[in-house]
């Protein structure tokens, strides 16, 4: 099985360790992983802004780069939603690209969903001393139905205990451009997430989308919480540092 790892633009720039953790994890699961060299961004920011033309250009670029593999795996629910759900809709009327978009969509998976639903992988190589609480990011949960997969995997990590926070399905307030355009509103929302996290007092808050995690981490630190670790699930499952 030959799969393409799409690391996402945010991981590329802000937290490469998530990309390497994903790579280790997929290799541990026995996959031949290729990182297509020309990948940039899936185009979601353009799509979210309402700019169909720009979003379609970037969609075509990504399709051309990613369609030659058995699967495409992404450590992000948000970017996966873009390829799985938005691309086919965006290019639906395009006779040449529509079918290619649909074919790619079917083979594109968010990381935990790929590990559990496709590979039935049950032996993450990591150990983790402590408790974690899992934040369900919105696109993963509501657009891709990812709920049990990350929990199943986390519970198999040696030493790890899972403590659910109240309202774990509640949005963290990130929303991409929303968090910059309406920074004060977004802060108000993420404050409630921080309070939920505080009630369980876990060693780490874990999620599957770097955008949400940067938002949560940024607010926790600004509120003075210097100890709660904020980790991408790939980092927890792969273990072994950077």
């Amino acid at each position: 099985m030959r799969l393409a790892l799409y690391v996402t633009c945010l991981v590329d720039l802000m937290r490469p360790s998530v990309g390497f953790a994903t790579l280790r994890l997929l290799e541990a699961a026995g996959c031949e992983v290729v990182v297509p060299a020309d990948q940039t961004c899936c185009g979601q920011p353009a799509w979210s802004a309402g700019n169909r033309a720009l979003a379609a250009d970037l969609a075509k670029k990504a399709i051309a780069e990613l369609e030659g593999y058995d699967y495409v795996v992404i450590p992000s629910g948000s970017c996966t939603d873009q390829i799985r759900n938005v691309y086919p809709q965006l290019l639906a009327d395009d006779a040449a690209w529509g079918p290619r978009a649909r074919a790619l969509a079917e083979r594109t998976y968010e990381l935990t969903s790929f590990l559990v639903d496709v590979l039935h992988f049950a032996t993450p190589p990591a150990e983790f001393a402590g408790s974690v609480t899992y934040h369900d990011s919105c696109k993963g949960l509501r657009a891709l139905n990812i709920k049990q997969q990350p929990r199943e995997l986390l519970l198999k990590v040696k030493g790890l205990s899972l403590q659910e926070m109240p309202d774990c399905e509640e949005c963290c307030g990130f929303g991409g451009a929303f968090s910059v355009r309406f920074g004060d509103v977004s802060t108000q929302i993420v404050d409630r997430k921080c309070e939920s996290i505080a009630t369980v007092g876990a060693t780490a808050v874990v999620g599957g989308d770097l955008g949400c995690l940067m938002n949560i981490e940024g607010r926790l630190r600004r509120r003075g919480d210097e100890t709660t670790r904020v980790l991408h699930i790939a980092e927890v499952l792969a273990g072994g540092g950077n």
Partner: protein
Amino acid sequence: MATGKHSQAMFFQVRAGLSVKNKLLQSALQKAKPLFVGKRAKGVAGLADDGLDFELLRSTCENIRNRVLTDLDVWLDIFEQRAKASGAEVLWARDGEEICDLVIDVARRHGVSKAVKSKSMLSEEAHLNEALMAAGIQPVETDLGEYIVQLAGETPSHIIAPAIHKNIGQVEALFAKEHGRPLQARTSADIPAMAREARQVLRQHFLSAEMGISGANFLIAETGSAALVTNEGNGRMVTTLPKVHVVITGIEKIVPTLEDFATLMRLLPRSATGQTISNYVSLLTGTKQPGDSEGPEKTVFILVDNGRAALLGSAYQDMLRCIRCGACMNHCPVYFSLGGHAYGWVYPGPMGSVLTPLLTGIENALDLPHASTGCNQCGSVCPVRIPLPELMHRLREEQVERHLQPWSQRLALTAWAWLASNPVLYRWTMRRAARYLNWLADDSGRIRIFGLAPGWTAGRDLTPPAGKTFHELYAARKRA
């Protein structure tokens, strides 16, 4: 289309900023949210006790509403015939101004000097109270929340909980002033006593008003009836005691049959307040007949377009399915950070972020379609499956198509997309960006002020990257 002249939606950003800082408002909202969410969850879970499946029921309700919208003109025709046959008058209003003119005309014909009102969001669209007062007719809101809001000289901040933004101290101050009594210290244990006090005042108005004005949750085509779903009983008083009853409602509120109404009632109260059924469900048909013990001598339906017909057959038709339960706003992280007034017009929350631009002009509410994190908590609870985030997204696309977004934003997006289309240049830029962000960090290793996205660092730190991009490190690793 409705005019945007009363809308403050263009000032969303400023109003949102003020709402976030309003501590009284914030504490009122934080108290209300878990109640709404918890009660609805329980109400929906309770469907199973009746052997009903929520998702199946949602589809049925969605289909009922779609069926109406497909042939809205036909159903309105049938409704008009049946309503007239039962003795009611049916009038049509294109916009808010026409609503006001029609109501004032009916009031003048019947010598009305006071009108008691049950909840009607359409009368908010029309600014009916102001028009009535200008015409020398006293409007008295009788829904407890609406009464509070009227005393405060405000507008509702939630479609089913109009005074959700007020705390008990604020309500006590309004009551003491209006009811001419000294201020008292109040706790939530006093709520029943305060409601009784309002009721005593309102009772006099019910008995003296010559006109009752209500909305309608649904219009039932097969019987020509208005269906009213209420909890306080004031709706019954408004619609039966005064000699004239005026129903003001949107043309999209039609359902074909009583059975369809019964089906929708499975989800409306549960979605709104978690109740299996509201305290009162009234079906109002025609006028008082010989032998009837109560009822108005005159019933007038005012069926309002105010921008709705233009949505039929458009990309936004799904919005017309809305049954005004409020579940979308009750589950919206943005609504519960702001309350309703920030949205600037009659309807707040996700449904308002779609309806306000559609009914008052897209160019008059540019922020609202963006006032969403895209979380789809609204869409996943909507009892008639309105894809609210998709409709907001479509509005954003229309802003782009009509060049309504700021040029700076367009330029930035175009430049970024161009960069993302050129991998070599993109890699180079990201490598520079990673180093730059790393350099920006202060002694503690954080970025606390970031000029390119000040909105972000106003409330959050930014943890900078380690200095090299993934692709840079990966390429180096492959070479090694």
